[in-house]
Symmetry: none
Subunit: 136 residues, 4 copies
DNA sequence: GTGGTCTAGACCACC
DNA sequence: GTGGTCTAGACCACG
């Protein structure tokens, strides 16, 4: 799964995909020459319209992040940008966590509860990954 | 200035205001009973339409964050118990955390790193709260 | 025709629509998964502005009655458990009942008369539900 | 207490008062020549602005329901309309009860629960009346 | 085609 | 002065 979209965030879905592909490229999860899922596959995985998936790829191509070769698929360009330093990557996550903390406060979830909830979700995430690893 | 909007982010302006007021309420920057700027004033400050400002306040009232009194203005509610059941509240947060986890994975931030990042942000949040408590 | 608005009642048009959709959902006239008329169609039928129709649907979505899917339309949710705690739910109804009691008092309707009137209306409501169940 | 206003119903407060005075007159709770509370007293009782109370009385006077005598107060006119028949009065209450029933359904409050809630609120109402009777 | 957002400007109810 | 509602018309994101 290359991306994960939130339909209620107000951020256009295609932009969420663009940002996440950029993030994956910046962090080194995706490397130059790597193949991206086809438009139809991506649309199916994210349960979005093919037009939306195509638009995300079009945007990425326009920005020079990816390259689409007719009949072959989409590939990440081997551009010279070095992976972001960890501090930069952490800052992005920190903003997201801050929003979660604010929300937790309004929902009257205490700090320890939030921390154990994170631990619980991390565990669930690991199990899902293993399940997928076994079936693929 | 209660909020600061970014017209290019793609996030609806009224939602940006909602999020910022919620953050201010959670961190103690705004306190129960505090008056918010009038719809007209807010609209002027942010250079947005009056309806957009009103919509943000309507959303905040629907979520139980503020109270609006006809002809008097909008006031922050003393945050009582959330009317949602605890299981429901946790579920909502879990969804948000799942998104953060996926994002962290893309950015190649390990689980322990994410957990300590949360602890760090919680600590920062608490300090902001105390700072607000001291100045008021 | 899903709703019927009265422009002279003083009740906001968007609220009239909300109330009528809720009533239709509760009585079984509308069922989970049913599509509602599009914002544009509803606006045309009721001869109101598109924004007003959209506002009614937005309110219904915020209350968890309907689900709106971008580009697809609005659909009645299969009504699951209300996310509010039971005590909270009872309190809201209690307020409404108090208003009815005061009104009954002004109209010089005695307590037993009011109670049997409630029983009568509950019976009528049940019959409407059954009628809807039979025809669908 | 001559009336009971609901600030969230969408119906203008002054109209709610007008309707309730009319209802009281129609049901015989108020009779020709009866004195109504002064504007200031009414405003205080209902916790509304004096202007709003004055507007309600102005409307009632314009419709010929009441008569205001300078320095003496407001009095119900002895107009020939006979009190409404009980069936008519019940119909109005029936509409209100129907709305409560729909709401109860969405909040997943069962019919017996609603009935016992009414009984409970009636009891609370009686006790409030007795308390007022003792202090006045 | 669908719903979502924003602007501009009007009128009302209320303090 | 306050917030609330409605209209009209524009543009965007999405299916």
């Amino acid at each position: 799964m290359i991306a994960h979209v939130n339909f209620k965030s107000g951020v256009p879905v295609y932009l969420q995909i663009v940002q996440q592909v950029k993030a994956a490229a910046a962090s080194g999860t995706l490397r130059g020459g790597d193949a991206l899922p086809s438009v139809r596959v991506l649309a199916e995985e994210l349960r979005i319209n093919r037009n939306t998936a195509a638009r995300a790829y079009a945007e990425l191509e326009a920005e020079g992040i990816i390259e689409t070769r007719q009949g072959a698929g989409c590939f990440l360009k081997a551009n010279g940008t070095s992976p972001l330093r960890k501090t930069v990557r952490s800052e992005r996550l920190a903003e997201e966590l801050d929003a979660v903390i604010v929300h937790a406060h309004h929902l009257q979830i205490s700090d320890p509860e939030l921390q154990s909830l994170l631990t619980e979700r991390l565990e669930a995430f690991r199990q899902r990954q293993q399940a997928n690893g076994a079936t693929h």
